[in-house]
């Protein structure tokens, strides 16, 4: 029972630990924290837990002239806005545990690419980053890790994400009370610690200084949160269903809503970094009015049986359909500075699961969209081809596009700039 978190509790818990967004009409003083001259300002990473059937995700041919594979067909209208990359992975562990490594390159949870980017651009928005999933992720999977290796929790209820983005006045008053209270208790304990320090030996003083400098650091963060709170939360006319569709059988419905809210989060500049873990359990989906013959997880272990693969692909296509809608939404919106939201947002789409049938995490399905990059190609870097590259190479390129001066990540040392310029 102790693990149950209701909506209200969640709201409060979250409200106090995250920084807060801005509106088109407001120019925050924090806005010009600058991220170089690049036009790319946002990062979205979307991973599908049970993966895709690789042969229906990757095209046969390299370059521009490829035929769109079955699973990616919903993206037909966006061909010039994304690139497919095959042959990339971290050379890491197999199985579902490999998810930890998807964005971090490491199975033990070192900092993930989204958090590296959030450290760079996060201050520009109310929330440095937001982590999203549908319901409760399978095996309590996590994909985002901070600098300290702490796994970031994900928001699984649409109503919680909605309330995070568009806080009500009473929520806001509560956050104000908490922040003010935190400010005053920090002042008080600073005094307490100083009094202890006065009587302490020089070695003890160093320990107390640890405390003092942490208090000062947290006070600074608090100031920032307070200044965001002075900026009104955006308003929206988007309406949620009366319940949260978070039971596994409604996951596709939940996915649709989460994409809508993510697009709104970017449009209102509530955050610049989003991760979305699209989960999968053993639910039996109904697609186009037809109930599938087995649960989703069962289908992912298709045993190379055509019928199963076909149904597995049906689910995969549903995911891609929703992703294509998301791209379309970003394409038709401008950000607060008048740039196309799609051109200023780099999107990584794919899976940390290579071949779900065998739990093999090589050749991870990977696609990059938006960001104002040159797109339209299928790049193949198959293992043993003499042209083999790592997924970390791609991440290096993405991070460098954000003006980050990083030249190695998870064993990767070469970027993949040639694919996008």
């Amino acid at each position: 029972m102790q693990n149950r978190v209701d909506r209200r509790q969640f709201l409060r818990g979250l409200g106090i630990s995250l920084a807060l967004p801005m509106l088109e009409s407001f120019q925050s003083p924090l806005m010009h924290a600058s991220s170089g001259s690049n036009s790319v300002k946002r990062l979205v990473a979307i991973g599908t837990y049970l993966g895709f059937h690789q042969t229906d995700f990757f095209p046969d041919k390299k370059g521009k002239g490829y035929k769109l594979p079955y699973v990616l067909e919903p993206l037909a209208g966006n061909r010039s806005e994304f690139s497919i990359l095959s042959g990339l992975d971290h050379r890491g562990r197999n199985g579902h545990e490999g998810w930890k490594a998807w964005l971090s390159g490491s199975a033990t949870g070192s900092i993930s690419i989204d958090q590296i980017v959030a450290n760079q651009v996060g201050d520009n928005a109310r929330y440095a980053s937001l982590q999203v999933t549908c319901g409760r992720p399978p095996n309590d999977a996590r994909i985002s890790f901070t600098r300290d290796g702490v796994a970031l929790p994900m928001i699984g209820r649409p109503s919680v994400l909605y309330n995070t983005l568009f806080r009500s006045d009473s929520d806001k008053a509560r956050i104000q009370y908490i922040l003010d209270g935190n400010g005053s208790v920090l002042d008080d304990v600073l005094e307490e610690a100083r009094a202890i320090k006065k009587k302490a030996s020089w070695q003890d003083k160093r320990k107390i200084n640890e405390y003092l400098s942490s208090v000062r650091d947290v006070e600074k963060k608090l100031q920032k949160q307070k200044s965001w709170l002075d900026i009104p939360f955006p308003k929206t006319d988007y309406t949620l269903p009366s319940y949260d569709p978070i039971s596994p059988d409604q996951a596709l419905h939940c996915e649709t809503i989460m994409y809508d809210l993510m697009a709104l989060a970017l449009k209102t500049d509530s955050t610049r970094v989003l991760t979305f873990l699209v989960p999968g359990w053993s639910q039996v989906f109904e697609i186009n009015g037809r109930r599938l013959s087995a649960g989703y997880h069962g289908l992912s272990h298709h045993g190379n049986e055509d019928k199963k693969i076909a149904e597995y692909n049906l689910v995969g296509r549903e995911h891609v359909k929703r992703f294509a809608n998301f791209l379309q939404k970003l394409k038709s919106s401008n950000d607060t500075e008048g740039l196309s939201l799609l051109d200023s947002t780099a999107i990584l789409y794919g899976s940390g699961m290579g071949d779900a049938n065998t739990h093999d995490n090589s050749n991870l399905p990977t696609l990059v969209a938006g960001g104002g990059f040159k797109h339209g190609n299928h790049w193949s870097h198959q293992r043993g081809s003499g042209n083999q590259r790592l997924l970390g190479d791609l991440y290096l390129t993405l991070m460098q596009k954000f003006g980050l001066n990083i030249d190695s990540f998870a064993g990767a040392k070469n970027n993949l700039n040639e694919c996008f310029s």
Binding site: Q2, R12, N182, A200, Q203, S214, P245, S282
Partner: protein, 885 residues
């Protein structure tokens, strides 16, 4: 001062000498090699270190710190610097170090723990205790503690980072919200009817299924989340009392395999939060009640009950007394059903064997139909001897074992022919009455408990002062000054002034938040020197229980009696009498013996099938062994050769043996053999390997550090590790011999390697072996699924293991039994090591020269009196090291 006197007799060895004159050799060492930079007046000397001294005044605390530092920089070759004009000869340097070592060991006083932050475990326990909040857990985002000197409760390693402080701050708010919740007004909501058609009942897979739009068919199962029908998309809109009406009937045919039932079928209803855990057994869900559905043919009736439902819940339906289900603890029902099925329906079993589990990911229907197809087409091998002795394995994956074959088959059969329970319609109406939601209710109860408030009572300001006096005393684990209480009361008064219409509870909210981020709460040992009774109560309690002092300790501290050695001894024994396996045992063995590491090691499936139950049994064995060592006050040689252990049937595949039952049982065996003790525990062997292969160096280093108490320096940088040869053509030993021939490596490897070789008979999970395994498939390729289904079959017998070793003192060891004998004849090694470990863990510091002197004394005393392990812990608590911050 009876107390000091007593201590003096036992472990107070150090006489504080005011004038310890430096010998001529030291004086000339400093003059020749140091004075160039470290002589003269304060501002002209390097690093503010002046070495112009004739004598050392050991009665001054600074002397120890200063001369320890001098020892360390000379020892590590940091000083004199390489570029110094006159660099000392090796012999000169060594003699300097020997003198300093001896002086420090003789004269340095013990102590020197820095203010010690509560670590994660201690913090959790302290919060639970302080707020009567037994299920408190830190959030998953809470950072891990660093480990220093082998433990995570060492003051110098317990750094306070801004990340951690903001976690403390957030947790303080959520705890204050829990124990001092704001009043939540009841929601308003118009009562209405919700209709749920059977096809809207949702399930994950398998056992329940909508047949048509009109009927949902339930068969029995234990796993509610995946088996029962759940009412999503209906989610309770507001907490209240609702009427639930269900139209249901039973379904039985003449064709069914089972006997017809006359007794009504039991339909039970449960509630859970939407989107909660997927695989909860029904026993963990909230039961709403149920109905007896009549077996009268074809008769569908309406059944109704009234129940409290909470916001966000969904409702599940279960046929509780069907033929196939397995409650935890009642699993035999399902087992005997399966045994029956396999024995009496040989056609089914023969077909199942032929199908061999079917295709991966087969659905229940496919599986059923494949079996029927095979039975229909005939030609099954009904003479197969397997049919006579059906397996009794509890199945693993979906169709890997007979258990699941039977279940899937039986469910489908019941869907088609009965018996089953049909649900035709569901109507939920309400709420008739709106009630507070679960969270509000539980918080209110928690708040009453925490404040000692009777439900509904209204508090006034005089309550606040008394409350804060008690609360701060408990939070800071020591008496709190009146001024401090006034400070906190000031917070309450100010809040009341600003918010005259709020309650006292709301005003206490902020004061509570402040208290639990205060350094007085987060740190212990803020005062240096001898521990007072309060400091002692905390140190003892966190040492033995990772928790704040209990009422008895507090009473002794209040009356100033705790430092009385007689009281201290009896309190130590009291706390050890019923050791809390969760705390001292769990956390000390978890780190000293490495059982904490086990959760991160996944043994190679090519070696054996290994599941969590094996891991848990290994940890239990280690902890129960250690527990008996304490409670029975066994002599320390039993750590090496105990003649007993605790095991269950899950350990049969590690140790051999034929235990039955999952309860841990005490077993005994002859002493003098390889079984049991620190050199025989599977958990230790597993934690010193990596799950795939063993490495003599790792185990050798582990033994030196944790059993022989003679750690080696880390290898110089840039030395590659030796990887095992997976082809099996050379042994680790052959590859390591070359390594030992390099003199710079040999100095340490002569100590490490023989110990490691001796342990080579233990495989990566602690099984005994005579030969190395050779994996017939390499692990560098991704492990395919097929692989897992054939666990343990991908190895062949490789080279024979040579477990002999030659210790640096010339002792020849043939195997691990010889090493045990060696340790038993040299018990001082292990005893000294164990004392050091416990002292480090208990005091939270790396031992200084003074502490080492005391630690040696304790060990010597234990050896001489051949005392038990509990006595040893008492000696540690009574030692000057433990009693000094």
């Amino acid at each position: 001062m009876r107390f000091l006197l007593w201590i003096n007799i036992t472990f107070f060895s150090c006489v504080l000498v005011a004038d310890d004159f430096l010998p001529q050799s030291a004086l000339s060492f400093f003059e020749n090699h140091c004075f160039e930079c470290h002589q003269g007046s304060e501002d002209s000397i390097e690093g503010n270190v002046n070495l112009e001294a004739k004598s050392i005044d050991w009665s001054k605390k600074e002397s120890t710190v200063f001369w320890t530092r001098i020892y360390e920089v000379i020892h590590s070759n940091e000083m004199p610097p390489k570029e110094a004009s006159s660099f000392p000869a090796t012999a000169e340097r060594l003699s300097m170090l020997t003198w300093l070592n001896k002086s420090l060991t003789n004269y340095a006083p013990p102590g020197g723990t820095l203010p010690r932050r509560l670590n994660r475990v201690e913090y959790e326990n302290t919060i639970r205790n302080l707020f009567n909040y037994s299920d408190f857990k830190v959030p998953p985002s809470f950072p891990e503690d660093d480990t220093t000197n082998g433990f995570d409760n060492i003051a110098s390693g317990l750094v306070l980072s801004p990340t951690l402080l903001s976690q403390y701050l957030d947790i303080a708010t959520s705890i204050a919200d829990e124990v001092l919740p704001e009043p939540v007004p009841l929601k308003s909501f118009d009562s209405r009817d919700f209709r749920i058609k059977p096809f809207q009942l949702k399930t994950n897979e398998g056992d329940g299924a909508a047949l048509t739009n009109d009927t949902y068919r339930l068969v029995s199962s234990r796993n509610m989340a995946s088996a029962a029908g759940w009412t999503s998309p209906f989610e309770v809109p507001v907490s209240g009392v609702y009427k639930i009406k269900v139209q249901a009937r039973t379904f039985q045919t003449d064709k069914m395999f089972y006997d017809k039932r006359i007794k009504p079928f039991r339909l039970e209803l449960y509630a859970r939060q939407n989107g909660e855990q997927q695989y909860e057994p029904f026993g963990e869900l909230r039961a709403l009640g149920g109905f007896n559905v009549t077996t009268k043919e074809g008769l569908s009736k309406n059944y109704q009950l009234e129940s409290k439902l909470f916001e966000g819940e969904v409702i599940g339906f279960r046929w509780a007394d069907g033929p196939v289900y397995s409650d935890p603890g009642k699993r035999d029902i399902s087992h005997s059903f399966i045994d029956d099925r396999l024995l009496n329906d040989s056609q089914f079993y023969a077909a199942a064997i032929k199908l061999d589990g079917g295709k991966r990911g087969s659905s229940q229907i496919e599986f059923y139909e494949s079996i029927r197809e095979l039975i229909k087409s005939g030609g099954l091998d009904l003479e197969n001897p397997k049919l006579k002795s059906p397996p009794k394995v509890y199945g693993g994956g979906l169709f890997n074992g007979p258990h699941n074959w039977c279940k899937a088959y039986a469910y489908e059969e019941m869907h088609r022919f009965g018996p089953a329970l049909d649900i035709l319609n569901i109507e939920i109406s309400g709420p008739d009455k709106i009630i507070p939601d679960q969270l509000t209710q539980s918080r209110l109860a928690r708040s009453d408990l925490f404040l000692g408030r009777s439900p509904g009572a209204i508090l006034d300001i005089s309550f606040a002062e008394n409350f804060l006096r008690d609360f701060l005393f408990k939070a800071f684990r020591k008496p709190v000054s009146e001024n401090k209480i006034k400070e906190y009361l000031g917070i309450v008064e100010k809040h009341r002034l600003d918010n005259p219409d709020k309650r006292i509870e709301d005003s206490l909210h902020l004061a509570v938040r402040r208290a639990i981020i205060s350094p007085h709460f987060l740190f212990r040992g803020l005062k240096s020197g001898f521990l007072d009774d309060w400091g002692l109560a905390s140190r003892l309690s966190y040492f033995l229980n990772s928790s704040p002092p209990d009422a008895k300790l507090i009473n002794f501290a209040k009356t100033g009696k705790l430092s009385d050695p007689i009281v201290l001894e009896s309190e130590t024994r009291r706390l050890l009498k019923k050791p809390q396996r969760n705390n001292l045992i769990k956390h000390f063995t978890g780190q000293w013996l490495g059982t904490r590491r086990l959760k991160d090691i996944m043994p190679d499936p090519r070696l054996l099938k290994f599941y969590n139950i094996h891991r848990e049994a290994m940890i239990d064995e280690t902890e129960m062994f250690f527990e008996e060592m304490i409670t029975e006050n066994h002599t320390l040689d039993k750590f090496i050769d105990p003649g007993f252990s605790y095991r269950n049937k899950n350990l049969n595949n590690i140790y051999g043996g034929n235990l039955s039952g999952t309860e841990m049982q005490r077993i005994t065996f002859d002493k003098g053999g390889r079984s049991g003790g620190l050199l025989g525990l599977a958990s230790i062997m597993m934690s010193t390997a990596n799950g795939v292969d063993t490495h003599p160096v790792h185990r050798g280093v582990w033994l030196l550090e944790n059993v022989l108490g003679s750690p080696t320096s880390p290898p110089p940088p840039g030395i590659p590790s030796i990887a095992p040869d997976t082809s099996g053509s050379t042994t680790m030993r052959e590859r390591m011999i070359a390594h030992q021939q390099d003199t710079s490596c040999a100095s340490c490897h002569k100590k490490i390697d023989p110990l490691g070789f001796v342990m080579e008979n233990y495989d990566p999970v602690g099984r005994w072996r005579e030969h190395y395994p050779v994996y017939t498939e390499t692990a560098s390729e991704p492990l395919k699924e097929e692989f897992y289904s054939q666990n343990g079959k991908q190895t062949r017998v490789g080279q024979k293991i040579d477990s002999s070793g030659l210790l640096p003192d010339g002792t020849v060891l043939k195997n691990v039994v010889d090493l045990k004998t060696y340790l038993l004849t040299n018990m001082n090694l292990f005893t000294e090591c164990l004392v050091e470990k416990l002292l480090v863990y208990g005091t939270g510091r790396s031992l200084n020269f003074g502490d080492k002197r005391i630690s040696m004394k304790i060990a010597k005393n234990s050896l001489n009196s051949n005392s038990g392990f509990q006595d040893l812990i008492v000696d540690i608590v009574l030692s000057e090291s433990f009693l000094t911050r």
